[in-house]
């Protein structure tokens, strides 16, 4: 008797719980789906279509010659001698800009973590270059800083009796990197500053008591503590800068080894009207981004997950 009633007594609630759970899952899916569908429509599907575009011969000037070509667009991209320099330009600009803005960001973060008079104002001034519209920043640097006649950089060089430099034509790569570094230093600084403020005072004081100097404390305690923040800054910074377009379009128009993948795609699609080949550049950009991102993403995802768990 007991053996037959026990399951009957247990079964209904478990059935009910399962049902509630199923309902729960469906409600969650319902809450998620608008955002997911929206993103699939506007990013995932276009990306798949881009891959499709990259396998067809398609020049808007000759619409009748449209047809499947397989990997010919990639071959053309490689043999025209545009693709490889664009990859090099993109990687170099990204690497230099990320490294320099990280170093400057670290310097400013350490300096502004100190007890500086007017610290709040200094921090406010420091974040401004990141907030300023990139198109405006590039123009300001091009004309009021780099210009050979009225640029303040050249005015300063003159004061020091140094020769005047026509930055955006003589050193196009350096010009783009300088503007990007200027814009992204505050970004790195903000992230590293958050890291510095999260440092435990006790550990620092203990190090001081143990007789560790400022430099030793910094390299042995602060830097390891900042590692996670540096990783976040580098990953997020690279993923944004790898798409760099604004300073290239405004400062150099892709001359002098600064033709990044984004600019090349723009040129090929919207000036050359060659959709097929431009799509190939888009796909290459994704591959490059994946390579750069996966290098750090695994570690980073752990960091995000650890920070987000209850």
């Amino acid at each position: 008797m007991t053996t037959t009633t026990a399951p009957r007594a247990v079964a209904p609630p478990s059935e009910g719980r399962k049902q509630a759970q199923r309902k729960n899952t469906w409600i969650s899916r319902g809450l998620l789906s608008p955002a997911v569908i929206f993103l699939i429509l506007l990013t995932q599907i276009p990306f798949v279509v881009t891959i499709g575009f990259s396998t067809i011969r398609w020049n808007l000037l000759y619409p009748l010659q449209r047809g499947f070509t397989g990997i010919d667009n990639y071959k053309a991209a490689l043999s025209s001698g545009d693709l490889w320099p664009a990859i090099v330009a993109t990687v170099l600009i990204t690497a230099f800009a990320v490294v320099f803005s990280l170093l400057f960001g670290l310097l400013f973060a350490v300096l502004l973590d100190r007890n500086l008079p007017g610290r709040a104002i200094a921090r406010t001034l420091m974040i401004t270059p990141f907030l300023i519209m990139p198109a405006a920043a590039s123009l300001i640097w091009k004309y009021s800083m780099f210009d050979t006649n009225i640029g303040m950089v050249n005015w300063a060089l003159q004061l020091l009796h140094l020769p005047i430099v026509s930055w955006s034509t003589e050193h196009p790569m350096a010009s783009v990197v300088i503007v990007l570094t200027w814009q992204f230093t505050p970004f790195m600084m903000l992230i590293l500053l958050a890291g510095l403020q999260g440092q435990s005072r006790e550990v620092l004081e203990a190090a001081q008591v143990d007789g560790a100097g400022a430099w030793r404390t910094f390299t042995w305690i602060t830097l390891p503590h900042l590692r996670m923040y540096i990783e976040i800054g580098v990953l997020l910074g690279s993923v944004i800068i790898i798409q760099v377009f604004d300073p290239v379009a405004i400062l150099t128009k892709g001359t002098g080894g600064t033709k990044t993948l984004a600019y090349l795609l723009y040129e090929r699609a919207f000036i050359g009207l060659n959709i097929g080949e431009a799509a190939a550049y888009g796909v290459v950009t994704v591959v490059l981004t994946i390579i750069v991102a996966t290098v750090a993403l695994k570690t980073l995802f752990k960091v995000f997950m650890a920070g987000g768990e209850r």
């Binding site: 969650s28 998620l32 990013t43 599907i45 992230i191 987000g308």
Partner: protein
Amino acid sequence: MTRSAKNTLINIGTWLLVLIFFFPVFWMFVNGFKPEAIASSVHPKVIFHPVMTGYHLAMDRGMPDYLRNSIIAATSATVITVVLGIPAAYALSIRKVRSVENSLSFFISTRFMPLAAVVLPLYMILKNLDLLDNIWMLAIVYGAVNLPVTVWMLRSFFLEVPLEIIEAARVDGAGLFREIVRIVLPLVLPGIAAAALITFIFSWNEYFLATLLTSSEARTTPPFLGSFVDGRGQFLAVLSAAATIAALPVIAAGWIAQKQLVRGLSMGAIK
């Protein structure tokens, strides 16, 4: 050297570096108020009689229209990301059903997809539908670009809501809608504001998509500024004035919301 002397020296050095770093912004602001002849002079002047000529000229070039388009694109994108982001982030934090957790990596990988990967099909589709140069289409695309960041960021705020409060509401028989709107949203209002701010900043400043998907009617401010590159003659004053107007809304918003900025930039990973 005594400790305090050394400290003072570092303080002075820090301020010097900060001011050098800020100088281009300051110079932009100052040049906007100069008469063109002084702004474009070989000898930089700090003391001059300020005029509004640069601002008037910038406005005469049609800037009000570009600004209006920028406002429409940035605010609509912000509304889209918040409206779609809140339920999604809610499902990914407070409800936490295992089978939907995979969406987290979906959102983060979408965040990292370069614009170059999606712009051509979007352009061709909009072209065929005769919707190129339409400000609402640009706003929708901006909404999609910024949605992943918004979801991640909102999720990090939602995770901080104490479960007890939500459970208490459920015990009181609050429905799902009531639970979200009356209980959770008021608690995460600062987070929503921060997420909205990030979308607004990125949409307001965006140049690549704006250049490609708009041409005249729907042109936003960044491509308008970009058109100064082809200018002839002296135009530093009008350029500086236009750049100041274009940059000011975001600079002001960022200054006010400094504390939330780092959290938004790190997608909620750093608090």
